[in-house]
Homo-oligomer: 385 residues x 2
Amino acid sequence: MLRSLSHKTPSLLFNFNFNNLTSLRTTLTITQAFSSAVSPPSKAIVYDSHGQPDAVTKLVDIPGVKVKENDVCVKMLAAPINPSDINRIQGVYPVRPEPPAVGGYEGVGEVYSVGAAVTAFSPGDWVIPSPPSFGTWQTYIVKDQNVWHKVNKAVPMEYAATITVNPLTAFLMLEDCVTLNSGTAPLAAILVFLVGDAIVQNGATSMVGQCVIQLAKSRGIHNINIIRDRPGVDEVKERLKDLGADEVFTESELEVKNVKSLLGGIPEPALGFNCVGGNSASMVLKFLRQGGTMVTYGGMSKKPVTVSTSAFIFKELSLRGFWLQNWLSTDKAQEGRKMIDKLLGLVHDGKLKYKMELTPFDDFNTALDKALGKLGSQPKQVIKF
Amino acid sequence: MLRSLSHKTPSLLFNFNFNNLTSLRTTLTITQAFSSAVSPPSKAIVYDSHGQPDAVTKLVDIPGVKVKENDVCVKMLAAPINPSDINRIQGVYPVRPEPPAVGGYEGVGEVYSVGAAVTAFSPGDWVIPSPPSFGTWQTYIVKDQNVWHKVNKAVPMEYAATITVNPLTAFLMLEDCVTLNSGTAPLAAILVFLVGDAIVQNGATSMVGQCVIQLAKSRGIHNINIIRDRPGVDEVKERLKDLGADEVFTESELEVKNVKSLLGGIPEPALGFNCVGGNSASMVLKFLRQGGTMVTYGGMSKKPVTVSTSAFIFKELSLRGFWLQNWLSTDKAQEGRKMIDKLLGLVHDGKLKYKMELTPFDDFNTALDKALGKLGSQPKQVIKF
């Protein structure tokens, strides 16, 4: 009997047994003869066990599955390779499907066919799994209609494919962690500026970092950015300033006695974002004002965060984390979809952009090597199906 | 001209010029001849500059000062030597009087005389400065009546002298940081236990630590305690369990793969208190449940707190600090006094006790040496005037 892929909930595991592919293909032919509501066969990036992604992933043909009455069959258009996708394959991410599993967690597709009871979607619609859902690295996906969220087709597909994991993280960290005051333009009548609060972040060239800069800018919130020392640093600084960065410092530029002397007219930041750890996190802490908060959402250096006792007691700093997957696992799915629409609106209006590279699905291995950092610093890799 | 000691506000600095003591004594005699409302001369522990307390403090005679109409003159009975007192003398505490200054920050005294406009206090009343106020290591203090809070004379003076800095810290950390559910005894009718939340703390033998155990116990909150390895550890454990400790572990006993396996039936703690830092703080973090909070209020090991990225993101831990002096500097003075009355009520009822040693003022140097740790582990030193 055909063991169909389970698609009912976004967190459902991919439990297809790939050892039986040959016999399944035979079964599939029989099934298709009895039902017109079957998805086209799919090509998927699959891993049978946890390990290094370039060692354990392979391209696999998957037979079509039945499109039940509440299902939507989606032909995938694009899906990114995020660091968390890599961590899931490595088996080091706390929430992950058990192998064998299809890789990927977010992406955009076009509705190919719908089940008999589905009225909210039509073939040709662009949809994203929202909340994101395991297994987006495949050409066709069949899941319950509740999984899918229709998005504006007027944005580039690579933005629709990547709008959740990184931009939504940036958006929520700015909105939810601390109440920040926005700045205003001077009111002509009274000639008073309301000076906006400030934030500081490390890893500013990351996709979240680029989004934080633009979202802060659009809210009148000053932003101070820390990047690692690297070749071509001036060009990187210029690019971030073009996005709206107020200040960009390399870590070595911050080896001064009092980093706050570098702030100029910018207020001491109330909120800091850390995706690096180690010394870079300490730099964020140094910039924070009395009573400030640092939110950790990544640890690219693989070094822990170290905090002095006096920073807690006398500077009254608070430290916490942010994890989108946890935020979305609460009852906030609908709220999240509204935010995604807002973010895609900003993309559409040219107010939110970030560097990506579209790579054909056939060149998945190249995209993976780039995402793994084997080919030096590269833009976010987005697979185009 | 006599430069009188300034006593108007709790935070006012002690700005007496000790170089003029001789001439001042002459002036004092003259002043006394013209006014009956002058305090008796005082003996005080004074430091002229920041430095090691045993090197920079000295006993000084201070002439009496005028008791103005709203002033209360208090004959001090007892005052502790707290670690923060030592840090102020060393100049490493962020809020401190500028030298020359009288040491001490809390204590209890007996009203000696009152200004003409004072009706709330009478000679013989026991009072404490509340919020605490610099300069309690002297035999007579004259300050505005607003500084003083009348306390129950039925408690031992050493408890009235020490009730603010440590017990109030314990009380506020348990009340303010996280909403904890208290446990209840089983209701006979329905035979259901409401299992109380749990807390974990290091430095459990400290005065705050001893108070946390008893206050948690009285609220039906489980408490897990971490102490450093030391000789006579069994006796220390027994003593803490007598106070109400549910579990007491030495740091070496916690070098196991999963500390939570040691919890038995106690729920994973929602809240942790850290006054040590370093490895001992990491132990507190390990015990905390998903989404738990660690509050740092001291750093006895002089080592920083180190936190992994995943503890922030995946375990969703929050870290913050607590500083009583900051809490009291807000508009919470009256609230603080009510809590102090409550704490002294617990002392009176035998529900709050901690180890102290009363040392005569004449033996101040011995008390100081003990407080500085020169004579090994010693109980809290309280000067008896």
